[in-house]
Amino acid sequence: MRSAAATWSLLGVLALLALPWLLAQVLPAGQAQFWTANILGRAIVFGIIAMSLTFLATYGGFVSLAQMMIAGVAGYVLAIFVDGAVPRIVGGLGYSLAVPLGLVAATAMGLLVGAISVRTRDIYLLMITLALAMGVFRFVETNIAWFNGYEGIRNVVGPAMPGFDVRDPMVFYHVALGTAALLYFGVLYLVRSPFGLVLQGIRDNPRRVAALGYSVALHRIAAFGVAGFIAGCGGTLSTIYNIGISPGTIGLGATVNVLIMSVIGGLGHPVGAFIGSLIFTVFDTFAATIYDRDRFNTLIGLVFLVIVLVSPDGAIGIGARLRRLLAAGRR
């Protein structure tokens, strides 16, 4: 069962790799590029951030609302240290150093969030992670010296080498897809390792895991660190995608958006994060034709509400139910 899922995922990644060329064959040139960059590329980037939440929620039972903030930490550290960013805060580093620095910062922030919330569960954890996320948001928004306040930091264009320009939508798409695939299979591998099994044990019964001699606290903090790293990868990509970062990208709206993606897709398997982010991005892009461009939030809020009310396990749950229905029909 597990290996079948992995095989399907591998096939899915291969199909996604080829998708831009297929789109170019079917759609007019402008539209194909739009789909590649603005829908698929964006969906993958946000899918990575959403996956860090799905990972924590599915295997640890921690619904953390701090993941978008952690992604923002990676983005901000990158923007602060990289050369060419406007305004120059520290600068002086190339992308080959600034990006890893951002990832380290995001992982550290993940560990910190995990440590602060280590004694809480369920909705308490939700409240504390949300409070932390909003606290960092308000700090970043009001602090000029380090984060350039409300305006944020612009012109983080991404690395450029001969023959490899991240600003080319095709290149960006494949870099994002490659990162997402590595992280996705990394998560699938991790949850079957001893660490992952302990984590799932903590989700089901922390007292028993503690009685077996494992340190529940350390495993929890480590899981938040892993999720922090994943979110940091997403944050780095989204900062390069947006050519900069501003407090708005880690505000309440963005934080909730990540939650919406994870829930719409389904908290039950990491793939749900990407399904959810794709649905979200498609709605975001075509809200104008469906309802009203300016009222996108109402539309996505309603979709989210319906999903939570009708199918708490999201699109994955709907898929599973359909499969079961079909199987029952065949019998």
């Binding site: 909705i123 309440l252 989210f304 009310l309």
Partner: protein, 291 residues
């Protein structure tokens, strides 16, 4: 000396507003175990709806404009809260995370519809003449009267809540429900109805905060996030479901915010969160929360 006293008084008036809003959040959480993520949205709804009643009356020069706005805003929030509990949250009692998600969905829709109806222009109530202007405070000098009234209202809310919870039949049911819902139901109490009443009361407090807050400072889009955050932090620091704890948390956070802003303006937010983290590390249930 003057400055220090002003900062402390500013902190206390801010704390009064925080207490009014957060007490509703704490009340709902205490009995229902629902994290009402739409609490900030209810604050905002009451402010805007109240204002749309207030404005035409004020333009006509009616003396009761502010009171009418206050009454309608609070009533609207109360009805909204009752409806939310009755229609959406009631039948998923016990599924705490799902309830939190439902209220998040609601808050997105409400905030967006408010933006659609009222636009992005900030609104501000004018307090009635009786509580407008400034009052001489010993040691400080002139101070906005309304902000002092704000403290009075917060004290009244605190006392009122304490009386309702400790001296009335409803309060008795609420306290019994906190300890054992099933037993309360077995005693013949209509627990779902108590739930609707509590949710409505909590939402009304958010609404009261909304109108008062919109009188003290302009109400604009984004207030929902700010006051949701305040409610979360105050309740986390003070202790879940404890009125006294909420008051203590509100005073602590209000003072910390004002002192922080006076001493290190662009780093003031950090002080609030250092307090929160310290409390979490030492007493995860909050300063006065029950374990």
């Amino acid at each position: 000396m003057d400055l220090a006293a002003t900062i402390v008084l500013n902190g206390l008036t801010l704390a009064a507003l925080y207490f009014i809003v957060a007490s509703g959040f704490s009340l709902i959480f205490g009995l229902m175990r629902v994290v009402n993520m739409a609490h900030g949205a209810m604050y905002m709804v009451a402010g805007y709806v109240g204002y749309s009643v207030f404005e035409p009356l004020y333009d006509r020069g009616a003396w009761y404009a502010w009171y009418a706005g206050l009454g309608v805003g609070v009533a609207f929030a109360a009805a909204f809260g009752a409806l939310v509990q009755k229609l959406l949250l009631g039948w998923m009692q016990g599924q705490e995370l799902r309830q939190a998600l439902v209220t998040i969905g609601l808050s997105i829709i409400v905030a967006d519809q408010l933006l659609a109806v009222y636009g992005g222009t900030p609104r501000q109530f004018f307090a009635p003449d009786a509580i407008f202007g400034s009052t001489q405070v010993p040691g400080i000098g002139g101070y906005p009267t309304f902000r002092l009234v704000q403290i009075g209202i917060a004290v009244a809310v605190g006392l009122g809540l304490w009386l309702v919870l400790n001296r009335t039949k409803l309060g008795m049911m609420i306290r019994a429900g906190v300890d054992d819902r099933q037993m309360l139901g077995a005693c013949g109490v209509n627990v779902p109805l108590v739930g609707v009443a509590v949710f409505s009361l909590g939402a009304a407090l958010a609404g009261l905060g909304g109108v008062i807050g919109a009188t003290a400072q302009p109400l604009a889009q984004g207030a929902d996030g700010r006051f949701l955050l305040i409610s979360l932090v105050v309740v986390i620091v003070g202790g879940m479901g404890s009125v006294t704890g909420t008051a203590l948390g509100a005073v602590l956070i209000g003072l910390a915010e004002q002192i922080g802003q006076a001493m290190f303006p662009t780093y003031s937010v950090i002080l609030t969160f250092v307090i929160m983290v310290a409390v979490l590390a030492l007493r995860p249930q909050g300063m006065l929360g029950r374990a």
